[in-house]
Point group: C2
Chain length 302, copies 2
Amino acid sequence: MSIIVVGSTAFDDIETPKGKKTRVVGGSCIYFSLAASFLAKPKIVSVVGNDFSKQFFSKLNKKNIETSGLIVKNGKTFSWGGKYKSVSEDPETKFTNLNVFENFEPFIPKSYYLANKIIFLANIDPDLQNKVLDTVDSKKFIGMDTMNFWILSKRKSLDKAFNRIDLLTINELELGLITKKNSLDKSLKYIFDKYSLKYLIVKKGSAGSLLATKNELFWIPCYPFADMVDPTGAGDSFAGGLFSYLAKSNSITKKNIIKGMIYGSSIASFTIESFGTDKLFKLSKKELGIRFRYLTKMAKII
Amino acid sequence: MSIIVVGSTAFDDIETPKGKKTRVVGGSCIYFSLAASFLAKPKIVSVVGNDFSKQFFSKLNKKNIETSGLIVKNGKTFSWGGKYKSVSEDPETKFTNLNVFENFEPFIPKSYYLANKIIFLANIDPDLQNKVLDTVDSKKFIGMDTMNFWILSKRKSLDKAFNRIDLLTINELELGLITKKNSLDKSLKYIFDKYSLKYLIVKKGSAGSLLATKNELFWIPCYPFADMVDPTGAGDSFAGGLFSYLAKSNSITKKNIIKGMIYGSSIASFTIESFGTDKLFKLSKKELGIRFRYLTKMAKII
């Protein structure tokens, strides 16, 4: 089963209490697709500049990731620099150079589209997310991520998108920014009253994540033994794991979403153990399986 | 079923981002016993000064709490002042006046002892905890709490106690202080290699709590909708709820400890919604039941 992911590809300069790395390949769709590649065939829709290494394309292809929608444009690849004062806080953005991403027009190749039931719109400009949604039929299961920057600058466009998708992943701070409510119950009521989406996932960092539907709430733990080095990409890896689990199970139920979140948490716990995508590339299915089973057992409390 | 709790009774001056209150009745055994009173008959072993109101004794007795081991001494009641900069952090201690607590010699009345299988040693000087343990037979199920102050100042005494109890509750910071390890897995290994205790509960504030045994780990969520006003007493309320659940179920199994932790989390979620013990006194069994069932459902993810 394959999944389409629309998102960014980037060079990241990352500084955390554990060290510093420059020009690390990252971006939401890279983390997402690497994480998703264990259970599904991810198909990337993104753009890079001609400074992006051809070798990296083949590294992705070797991981069963389809890159024909990863367009190369004349110019420089999107780059971002961030510094994490502590690994549990949002990073301070040092610079954002959109470069070729500035004029990115996401386009889902027909070859991608037909066999796919699942699409993930990773964190990019909500205007672009809406453009993709214009071309997508309503039978697809659509997940979406966003960030504080878009919540503050393009709220109308986000509101539009939130009514066209099935599942939204955000973090606690972003939920508060969207709803302007000071409590979780009021925030959830706001979301499900205002938007037609069915599933809201609230990422809480090392405190795990919540799955909310209109009437129910579940708490999914995260792997507590991870050796945090760099949190970049944790959310996208989590989403990649979750959506690949849904693609593999071929049935989108609350139960499978919960299991998928445990699977996604397992992968994210590896992502954060190295800078960038290093660990995701090296990770074996066996290692991942051990952590997934551990987390499943840990979560099975009653 | 009754439970013996040995701990402090205090007047607290509390400041949180939500307000300020002075001379609030608190102390570990007050929070513990109020929380435990819904399912069991708590029997307090503690000391107060003659400035402590007689009325409060009858308020406790009306809640089915036995106070014949709550000794009145000439002098002032133990008092503590703390300021929480944020409700998720440990408070800054403004003052600690031990007063009558300075010469406290905990003594379990014979009338308490006979029918009881469960004893909780709330956070007090570990020398005193050991004195109680000297008088306790090994068939009792013994829980214990402590804090950073004793970990740093009376480690030998704590080590001795840790080898005489069944269950220890501490928070994440305290676990790190005890083990001096920088990861959870190393910390757990340290605890279970070094001490004979069977259950370790690591309290993680709004991120819930962990139950660890030598070979297993479980994550228990906390109620996510609580309207935090004052975190004081949350840990003692949690323990009171847990131990009353064990007393009521009359069988100390891993499963009952987990259910008891969910029950304890439910009660603690009320404790923090008011200054001091206000909410615990007003709380109805029905309200508590609703939150317990909600949290149980929320935790039942797979």
